[in-house]
């Protein structure tokens, strides 16, 4: 299974590299959207520091959803997705490969850009580190859940908008634990409980979402 | 009956807006649902009739 996973990941990353600008859109959205908040709310540092974890996390959620339909859309259009479903390779492995590729190209950049945003929001150094860690654990969850949504809405006209509506409510626990970890640090407490829960969520989602995505692909492609 | 007058009943101890706002909105929404559902069934039946005539 790991062979399938890695070769699919490599393939998807190669394809993403050919459309580099498109691949960078989520990152661009992330920075722009988060950057709008200080402008809209005012430059008062105390206020910005309070809202930073929530704002950065929500913008990450939205940015991740932007590119999620790409996981299957182009393969669906040129027929290669059908081949993947017919192949003897485990579909779950293929899905995991695609999710991993999505995370590497769309999720990881958000994690790496988050310290920059932390600075914009005048966050303390320690808080920035925990924010980045929470996103490191949270963005894979977003990719995993996004895959389910993308598979369910495959080929639909309003697919992209539908994915937001379907997936975002499911990401709320991750949002709560992710921002909660940073807020705990801000309050002088340990983020351990929140991060443990976030980790558990990642594991549970990692086990369930690929299976659900594979089932959804079969439903959409029948 | 705990109310001494109809006015008292409507007033709901000063909370008339909240109580009647709740019961009223619920009634409106339910009636709307009933009407819409019955209309949907009617339309479906009419379509079936047209199918048969065709």
């Amino acid at each position: 299974m790991s062979h399938v996973l890695l070769s699919v990941t490599r393939r998807d990353l190669l394809l993403a590299r050919r459309r580099q600008v498109e691949a960078l859109l989520p990152l661009g959205f992330f920075v722009v959207a988060a950057g709008l908040f200080p402008i809209g709310v005012g430059p008062e540092a105390h206020l910005l520091r309070q809202m930073a974890p929530g704002v950065v996390w929500v913008c990450a959620l939205l940015a991740a959803m932007l590119s999620v339909t790409q996981m299957f859309a182009s393969d669906h259009q040129d027929g290669s997705l059908e081949q993947m479903l017919l192949s003897p390779q485990p579909l779950v492995g293929i899905v995991l490969g695609k999710v991993f590729a999505h995370w590497l190209s769309s999720g990881l950049p958000l994690v790496l850009a988050s310290p920059l945003l932390g600075v914009l929001f005048d966050m303390h150094r320690e808080s920035i580190a925990w924010l980045a860690l929470s996103l490191l654990m949270g963005t894979p969850i977003l990719s995993l859940l996004g895959a389910v949504g993308a598979a369910l809405t495959l080929g639909l006209r309003s697919g992209a908008a539908l994915v937001f509506l379907l997936v975002l409510p499911l990401t709320i626990p991750a949002l709560i634990f992710g921002t909660g970890a940073v807020l705990a640090v801000d309050g002088g407490q340990s983020p351990q409980a929140h991060l443990s829960l976030l980790g558990a969520l990642l594991i549970v989602t990692g086990l369930g979402a690929p299976w659900a995505t594979a089932a959804a692909l079969r439903i959409s492609m029948d | 009956m705990i109310w001494t007058s109809f006015d008292d009943f409507l007033n709901m101890g000063g909370y008339g807006l909240y109580v009647w706002g709740s019961y009223g909105a619920t009634l409106v929404v339910m009636l709307a649902e009933v009407m819409m559902t019955r209309r949907r069934l009617q339309t479906a039946r009419q379509s079936a009739a047209r199918e048969n005539a065709a």
């Binding site: 539908l162 439903i219 | 709740s22 929404v29 559902t37 479906a44 039946r45 005539a53």
Partner: protein, 256 residues
């Protein structure tokens, strides 16, 4: 379709044929309406005219006679929706999928009513229209789950794909509900949000009676509406079958 071995009495499969469901539901619906109206009137009588004024919340508490039953039904209907949708998916049972689809708008309606009445209860009691209390927040998310299900099933034209995709989405939702509720409760207690207390630990007997009457009235209402909507969906989705065409030839059946 189903085996025709004659067996006395009712079989599970009696209801699985859309044509039989259509006929049976049509006969049952008027009784369901009657039950709903009678129980509803009784509940309104007890709740608005008999139940005493509360010591702390005075008369604004009467909103709970709608709020609590609506909230309970919003959750029950979602579970029923997920159950029947899953049944339809696993056994390829069209009627089950159609019934699940019929439940969704009513479930969403009750969720909205629960939120609306919750706000109207919250304003006089805690001073604000909206409180991010764990239960209200979870109820809000439930509304989003309903809307998502309806949006997805409506967006897919192919009947079978729509039914099965909806089933998967509903199951994903059901699995997530405990996770969501737990996380929201956690979030709420950490932020020291207001904890909503019911009117005292033991409710006056008449209050309890009113609540139960309204609950069962709403339950009967839900069956009546879901059956009616199901019948419409059956006609819509089975429009090219013989029995539906034959129905069109028959004189109108009268009231729904």
């Amino acid at each position: 379709m189903k085996n025709t071995t004659p067996k006395p009495g009712l079989r599970w499969s009696t209801f699985s044929a859309p044509s039989r469901f259509y006929a049976l539901a049509g006969r049952v619906v008027p009784w369901l309406w009657a039950v709903s109206v009678v129980l509803g009137l009784a509940g309104l009588y007890v709740g608005l005219l008999v139940a005493p004024t509360d010591a702390t919340q005075h008369d604004s508490y009467r909103v709970i006679f709608i709020h609590v039953p609506a909230a309970i039904l919003s959750m029950l209907l979602y579970l029923a929706l997920a159950f029947w949708a899953a049944w339809g998916w696993i056994f390829n049972a069209r009627m089950a999928s159609m019934y699940a689809r019929a439940l969704a708008p009513t479930g969403a309606m009750f969720t909205f009513v629960a939120l609306w009445t919750g706000a109207l209860w919250g304003k006089p009691t805690w001073g604000t229209w909206w409180v991010w209390d764990a239960r209200i927040t979870s109820e809000f998310i439930l509304l989003l789950l309903y809307v998502g299900y309806i949006a997805l099933t409506e967006a897919i034209d192919d009947v079978r794909r729509s039914a099965h995709a909806g089933a998967l989405l509903a199951l994903v939702g059901v699995v997530n509900i405990p996770i969501i509720y737990f996380s929201v409760r956690w979030w709420n207690t950490l932020h020291q949000g207001s904890t909503i207390k019911m009117t005292g630990t033991s409710m006056h007997q008449t209050m309890q009676l009113a609540m139960w009457l309204m609950m069962f009235s709403f339950w009967a209402y839900s069956f009546a509406i879901a059956f009616t909507r199901s019948r419409a969906i059956v006609l819509e989705q089975e429009s090219d079958t013989e029995w539906v065409k034959a129905l069109g030839a028959a004189p109108s059946e009268g009231k729904a």
